[in-house]
């Protein structure tokens, strides 16, 4: 990792440790998010890491943004960090739209979503419904990519103009449905999408962001599980001395490391250009690890893990949510598998052995 990125992660870790305790997370689940944490992150410029400085962002690349998300995942941070910079901020900036001052989110076009952009310069209108929008009503804007007149447009829609149906994920993070009914938009909110900004690209970035969050949460679950099983004694010795418990710990460590490796390499390989196969691998590995690590960690913890009070559940409820968001391991496996079959059997090994590219600024 570059020295700058290491420093960025260390600074973020310090801030989350101070401002994002398990109690903060618990309280945030009552209100939908943590405004105090968000304010501190904004002051430090963290939400817009990965968005060019010239566009009003904090600079840095996708790998920097993902390094921050790994830290945020460790702390189960109840804020739209991935959505504001890596997703909404990137798309808005790439299209030359002004960045919103507050938190922002995206709608990537889920099944059943309808987005209709009509009109033209000076008289834009937006109608439609987008579902499961992360942190929807807590955000100032929802950025979406709409098709109109034979091309893609980036729309930075004010959430205040939408009717909101609240929803949440298993960790009580807001996942809202927003309905726009012929909302007028001024020209500063709509711009032609550059070639790089497509629904597919947003999906890739979303999946990479979730893989990074998952990897961070898994690292923390590993620490909690190792610590707890060393402290907890049964039959006169720490439960970590039992081979059956050791098997859980080793499984947790393996899967957490695999997910961390896959997410890190994908983030680095995406620093200059998004790579479908790297993102697919990262999301497949991370989502699958989320399931099996949560299971093993709960088994190693026993009943304490089933309490709202204890930190483990804050992480596992997010793992159970994030694994499905921006595509589950199944959907990414399917897409990757079809692509590999088209490439042919002799291409399989060269692809597996490509790994981290040498020219990435890591």
């Amino acid at each position: 990792m570059s020295e700058e990125r290491t420093m960025l992660s260390a600074a973020a870790d310090e801030m989350f440790r101070d401002l994002c305790s398990p109690r903060t997370v618990r309280d945030a689940e009552e209100h939908g998010w943590s405004p105090d944490l968000w304010e501190a992150l904004t002051e430090a410029g963290f939400p817009l890491v990965g968005v060019p400085e010239a566009a009003g962002g904090s600079g840095g690349d996708v790998a920097d943004a993902c390094a921050l998300l790994m830290v945020a995942g460790r702390y189960a941070a109840p804020v739209p960090l991935a959505e504001t910079g890596l997703l909404a901020g990137w798309a808005a900036a790439a299209a030359g739209l002004a960045l919103p001052a507050g938190p922002a989110t995206v709608a990537v076009g889920r099944r059943g979503d309808t987005v209709e952009l009509s009109g033209a310069e000076g008289a834009w209108r937006l109608s439609g419904q987008v579902s499961r929008v992360p942190w929807g009503a807590r955000c100032e804007r929802v950025v979406l990519v709409a098709e109109h007149d034979g091309r893609y447009w980036v729309v930075s829609a004010p959430t205040a103009a939408a009717t909101v149906t609240s929803g949440r994920n298993l960790a009580a993070e807001p996942r809202d449905t927003l309905t726009f009914t012929s909302v007028e938009l001024d020209d500063a909110l709509v711009a032609p999408a550059p070639e790089s900004v497509t629904p597919h690209a947003l999906m890739l970035r979303g999946a990479l962001g979730r893989a990074s969050l998952i990897a961070g949460a898994l690292a923390r679950v590993t620490e909690l599980s190792v610590r707890y099983t060393e402290e907890r004694e049964q039959f006169g010795r720490p439960v970590a001395r039992f081979q059956a418990v050791q098997a859980h710990l080793v499984h947790i460590a393996e899967e957490a490391q695999l997910a961390g490796m896959a997410a890190s390499v994908a983030a680095l390989n995406c620093a200059t250009a998004l790579s479908f196969s790297d993102v697919a691998v990262a999301k497949i590995i991370a989502s699958e690890a989320a399931t099996s690590v949560a299971r093993a960690a709960h088994q190693a913890h026993g009943a304490i893990g089933m309490t709202k009070e204890y930190e483990l559940g804050q992480l596992t409820r997010r793992l159970w949510s994030w694994r499905d968001e921006f595509g589950s391991e199944r959907s990414w496996s399917r897409a990757l598998g079809h692509q590999l079959a088209l490439a042919g059997a002799d291409e399989l090994w060269p692809r597996i052995s490509t790994g981290l590219l040498d020219d990435q600024p890591c």
Partner: protein, 378 residues
């Protein structure tokens, strides 16, 4: 624990390209891929590979090696294994005995053995397990007794892969009786010539009927003092160190890769969603495990001793090798016929019959998990 993402330098990529070209020329079009270390024992192939400088490559040039890195060796090994190349003759000497001799051997031993190993002409087996000693290696009963100029060794070693083909094996034995329950003291490693008088090698038929395992009975076999490997009485730490080296390489996760590749070839470019899911998922895991395994090699080159990391890679990698077989079996939905014309089915049959060994050889996964779990707590 430290698994850092690592990339390949242009020189490393060039090496990989050279190996790919070599294999494309060397392996005939009808080459039947082998499965990992169980691939064919082909002395000519080993010699030709050695002639390119790709056997014993991490050994220093003064001993006939090439002074290359662990990553270089990793790259050559993964190309060989992914192609299912016939590596069995030189593989153990290259992976394990060479480095052990370099670290613990006498100058005479290095000069005698290492150039031959690097030439692909000196092949080793491992003499650790016994009828009553498997995971509990310290309980070995093979005994060496002092005689003029050396040792007389007696005992029985089992599961000795390719002892009937190889030249030597390194025998873990007791050179002084156990005292006060100090189980790890008094063990030594002796280099035994498999053609020496008193060595009796008998096949132990493998599960699939092939000749792979042997029983090696040692009956008063003379081993000169010059063939004691490392410190007398230091066998335990040498053996555990050796097991750590051999742990995390591509041979611990690539054994069944040819089965997946041939599956994909026979299925063609259009897969059902269900099969695409299986192929995508397995490929993702290959990709991630490889990056972990490569990271351990890089860490070795940086002078670290990533023994916990290596144990984790072997544990997860060997279980994955087995999982590949089961995923493909269920995906194929056919009754396995070992005589099938389909290369995929032929390989699948072999994989089903041999895959239980993946999580046994080189230390069972249960032992590995204990080793790794102790490291996690630190």
């Amino acid at each position: 624990m430290d698994f850092s993402p690592t990339s390949l330098s242009p020189a490393e990529e060039a090496l990989r390209d050279q190996v790919r070209t070599f294999l494309a020329e060397e392996l005939p079009p009808d080459h039947r891929p082998g499965l990992g270390m169980a691939a064919r024992h082909d002395p000519d192939f080993s010699r030709r590979l050695a002639a390119r400088g790709w056997v014993g490559m991490a050994l220093p040039p003064e001993y006939g090696g090439h002074g290359r890195t662990a990553v270089d060796r990793f790259l050559v090994t993964e190309e060989l294994l992914s192609a299912g190349a016939p590596i069995a003759a030189h593989f153990v000497a290259d992976r394990q005995t060479g480095p052990t001799l370099l670290h613990h051997g006498t100058e005479e031993q290095r000069r005698f053995f290492l150039p031959k190993i690097a030439a692909g002409e000196c092949w080793f087996s491992l003499g650790m397990s016994e009828p009553d000693s498997g995971s509990d290696l310290a309980s070995v009963r093979t005994t060496a007794t002092r005689v003029a100029g050396g040792w007389s060794v007696s005992g029985t070693k089992v599961w000795t892969s390719a002892a009937h083909l190889n030249h030597y094996f390194v025998v873990l034995c007791r050179t002084s009786p156990m005292q006060d329950g100090a189980r790890h003291a008094g063990l030594s490693q002796l280099i035994v010539d498999l053609s020496a008088p008193g060595v009796k090698i008998s096949p132990i038929p493998y599960l699939d009927g092939t000749h792979h395992f042997n029983e090696v009975v040692l009956d008063d076999v003379f081993v000169s003092d010059e063939r004691v490997l490392g410190e007398l009485g230091g066998g335990w730490s040498q053996v555990t160190g050796e097991l750590a080296y051999e742990r995390s390489g591509p041979d611990r996760w690539l054994s069944t890769f040819p089965v997946l590749r041939e599956f994909l070839r026979e299925q063609g470019p259009r897969l059902s969603d269900q099969l695409a899911e299986a192929v995508g998922r397995l490929t993702a895991r290959y990709w991630a495990i490889r990056q972990m395994s490569l990271s351990v090699a890089r860490s070795l080159d940086a002078g670290h001793a990533p023994s916990i990391e290596a144990a984790l890679v072997k544990e997860v990698g060997t279980r994955f090798e087995q999982e590949v077989v089961e995923v493909l079996r269920t995906a194929a939905e056919s009754e396995i016929d070992p005589g099938a014309e389909s290369l995929f089915e032929d390989l699948l049959a072999e994989a089903v019959l041999t895959s239980p060994s993946f999580t046994l050889r080189g230390g069972t996964n249960e032992i590995l998990r204990s080793v790794a779990a102790k490291g996690l707590g630190r």
